[in-house]
């Protein structure tokens, strides 16, 4: 139960920020600007507001890519868990797939089944835009999860993470830590995910922009494949290329397991490392304090829980009880939060197992 209230707080924290302005997500990424108490505070308000009170029965259709990665696995799990909390929700997931064609037909089948609302995490926003539009035209509101549809007529509400903000958060953490240490000309290494993805490019841009504020720049960056094995391979070569490193930002905690294994194998510890996404495993590593991993910046799959909650409110015609508006906002961007040793315990229940 504590997990549930925590999640609710998380949702509202994100919602308030998102409703304010997208830009606020960036500024709030500075570690100083986010006391961990803020996540817990609005919980009581939410309960009082009555968003969780049972309403009319709604059927929520859900489609997402097949999990080949801990983060996607957590998305599906969180969505299901969130739906289970409500007696007035019938959860209707379709078989997850990585094939665009199959996902299109799966969504078509949900439209034909006349679900009340759809939650869609498309394999590719561009390629599923058409079918999402069909759903909207058929009067089924679409909650677009994370990967955005290019056409605004294709979704009622978008909720997702802030890739640029993730880079900014990591950049601020590293920039601040190195400034405090008084390092000049630091060697900063960046291990990306799949380089061709726009999300990777956004993360890198945010990272570079934030570092610029401290007068630092990325010394070397190299792309891995979001897998443990690619993380090991790239990291062990990078460690050879740079005999002395001051900081590493690794975009993804799953591949981070491999990066940490390579670091341990090379017996290196002269630098700090920051992770990305916020896996439970990374949080435990941060908590232990014995690892080079000093922090991780979130791109939390809890967004799937929130998406289900939003879908339910939309289908029931309710607004968000903490906001003034009568309807759910059109878009919500989660803030990328920085998890350090000090607040890891608060976040651990929200972390996903990789």
């Amino acid at each position: 139960m504590t997990q549930n209230t925590g999640r609710r707080g998380f949702l509202l924290g994100g919602a308030v920020l998102g409703a304010g302005a997208l830009v606020s997500a960036c500024t709030s990424n500075e570690p100083a600007a986010q006391p961990s108490a803020a996540a817990a505070a609005p919980t009581t308000a939410a309960a009082a507001g009555g968003n969780d009170q049972p309403g009319t029965q709604v059927t929520i259709g859900f489609s997402a890519p097949a999990a080949d990665h801990g983060w996607i696995a957590a998305i599906a799990k969180n969505a299901e868990a969130a739906a289970k909390q409500y007696s007035d929700v019938v959860f209707k997931p379709v078989e997850p797939t990585n094939d665009i064609n199959q996902q299109i037909s799966a969504v078509e089948s949900l439209i034909q089944a006349k679900v009340d609302v759809l939650v869609l995490l498309p394999n590719d926003g561009q390629q599923l835009n058409q079918v999402a539009r069909q759903a909207m035209d058929a009067g089924i509101p679409v909650v677009n999860l994370d990967r955005v549809f290019p056409d605004k007529l294709s979704y009622r509400t978008w909720i997702g993470g802030d890739n640029y903000g993730m880079g900014v958060a990591a950049g601020h953490y590293i920039g601040k830590a190195l400034k405090e240490k008084g390092v000049s000309n630091p060697v900063i290494v960046e291990i990306q995910g799949i380089a061709t993805l726009p999300l990777t490019q956004d993360r890198s841009k945010g990272f570079a922009d934030a570092l610029k504020a401290y007068g630092f720049s990325v010394t070397a960056k190299q792309d891995a494949q979001f897998t443990v094995e690619s993380g090991t391979k790239v990291a062990s070569n990078l460690l050879q290329a740079h005999k002395k490193i001051d900081a590493i930002w690794n975009h993804d905690d799953d591949q981070g397991i491999g990066v940490l294994a390579a670091i341990k194998e090379a017996n290196r510890s002269e630098f700090i490392m920051v992770g990305g996404a916020g896996s439970a495993n990374a949080m435990r590593e941060i908590q232990s304090g014995s690892s080079v991993l000093a922090a991780t910046v979130t791109y939390s799959p809890t967004m799937a829980s929130s998406a289900i909650k939003l879908a339910r409110l939309i289908a029931q015609g309710k607004g968000m009880s903490d906001l003034t508006e009568n309807e759910v906002p059109q878009s919500i961007t989660l803030a990328s939060e920085t998890i350090t040793k000090d607040n890891a315990a608060t976040y651990l229940p929200l972390g996903f197992e990789s």
């Binding site: 696995a73 792309d223 391979k233 062990s236 460690l239 005999k243 397991i257 491999g258 194998e265 495993n281």
Partner: protein, 328 residues
């Protein structure tokens, strides 16, 4: 007729020499890469820790390459190696397996690998399936099974079974233990291929299965064993990848089949079977590993690496073709 005999006699040593040419070419290529490394990053490339790092990186896929060499010399192909390695690593790191300790985990990985290889071999020899199709089916199925077993999660090697991870972290004479495992597999593979009846039969089966059958070799049984051997190598590789990454995962070994086949081909083994060497394959693999290392040392991106790899494969095969043409 009378003229034919002396030419065919003269051909023997000549052919033998041609067999050595790709080796020389490979060594030359490696030397060239080393010179590039020394010229561009003198302070990083020739350090002992970088060389160790290259060898450790090459170990996992190197073991697989040894098995692949046997299969290809035997006239087959194994597309399932990466997936079988992933499946072995996942099976060996499930909570149930981990509760029995590191020794059982290793045995589990080896058995799963060998088992999958024998299934490949059975389908090909006794089911008369084309190797390409049978192992392609195994590739997809093994990857799927690995995902199902792991529930698409990355499975960490538990603290209690850290003995596995020590294969990678413990060093003897400056080299991690897994490099010794790699060396041992290469040595045993070389002996098996060059000094035993099994090896000679492998060349015979790959060169001309019909002639091999007439010579009294049980071609089907032998083919099945070759795939079993390749599977065993995948199992060993699974143990090494568990040691290196501290995990078992269905994403391990992605596209290993292409890297392994490419290494074997640029190593001078004929894709049609009957000719090839383990040393060539290993040199081919080292070329790939050194290229990756050089690219990362110089901060170049992965896309260029892929282009370089592609070019090398084409050049190597063209050289082989010329060798074969001048030989006949």
């Amino acid at each position: 007729m009378t003229e034919a005999t002396p030419t065919s006699v003269a051909k023997r040593p000549f052919l033998g020499k041609i067999g050595e040419v790709p080796h020389l070419g490979l060594v030359a290529a490696l030397v060239l890469l080393a010179i590039v490394g020394l010229a561009t990053r003198p302070e990083n490339f020739a350090t002992s820790s970088n060389l160790v790092s290259i060898l450790a990186l090459a170990s996992t896929i190197g073991v697989i390459t040894v098995g692949m060499t046997f299969v290809i010399i035997g006239g087959g192909i194994d597309l399932s190696v990466g997936a079988v390695m992933a499946l072995s690593s996942v099976w060996a790191t499930t909570l149930a397996t981990q509760s029995y300790g590191p020794a059982v985990m290793i045995v589990c990985a080896l058995l799963v690998g060998t088992g999958a290889g024998l299934v490949n071999g059975f389908l090909i020899s006794y089911g008369r399936m084309v190797p390409f199709i049978a192992t392609l089916a195994m590739l997809v199925a093994a990857r799927g099974l690995a995902q199902r077993m792991s529930n698409q999660r990355t499975q960490l090697v538990q603290q209690a079974n850290n003995a596995i991870v020590e294969l990678s972290t413990t060093r003897v004479l400056g080299l991690p233990l897994l490099v010794y495992v790699f060396a041992l597999v290469v040595a045993l593979g070389w002996i098996l291929l060059n000094r035993t009846t099994f090896g000679r039969r492998t060349y015979a089966v790959g060169g001309n299965p019909e002639a091999a059958r007439l010579a009294g070799i049980d071609v089907r049984r032998h083919t099945m064993l070759l795939y079993g051997l390749s599977g065993l190598c995948c199992g060993i590789a699974a143990v090494l990848i568990m040691a290196r990454t501290t995990t078992g995962s269905s994403t391990h070994g992605d596209l290993y089949e292409l890297d392994a086949i490419a290494a074997v081909i640029i190593g001078g083994t004929l894709l049609t079977g009957g000719r090839g060497t383990i040393i060539g394959s290993i040199l081919g693999l080292l070329i790939f590993t050194v290229i990756t290392n050089l690219f990362i040392l110089n901060g170049l991106n992965t896309s260029d690496q892929l282009i370089a790899k592609g070019l090398i494969i084409v050049v190597a095969v063209l050289m082989q073709r010329r060798g074969a043409l001048t030989g006949t």
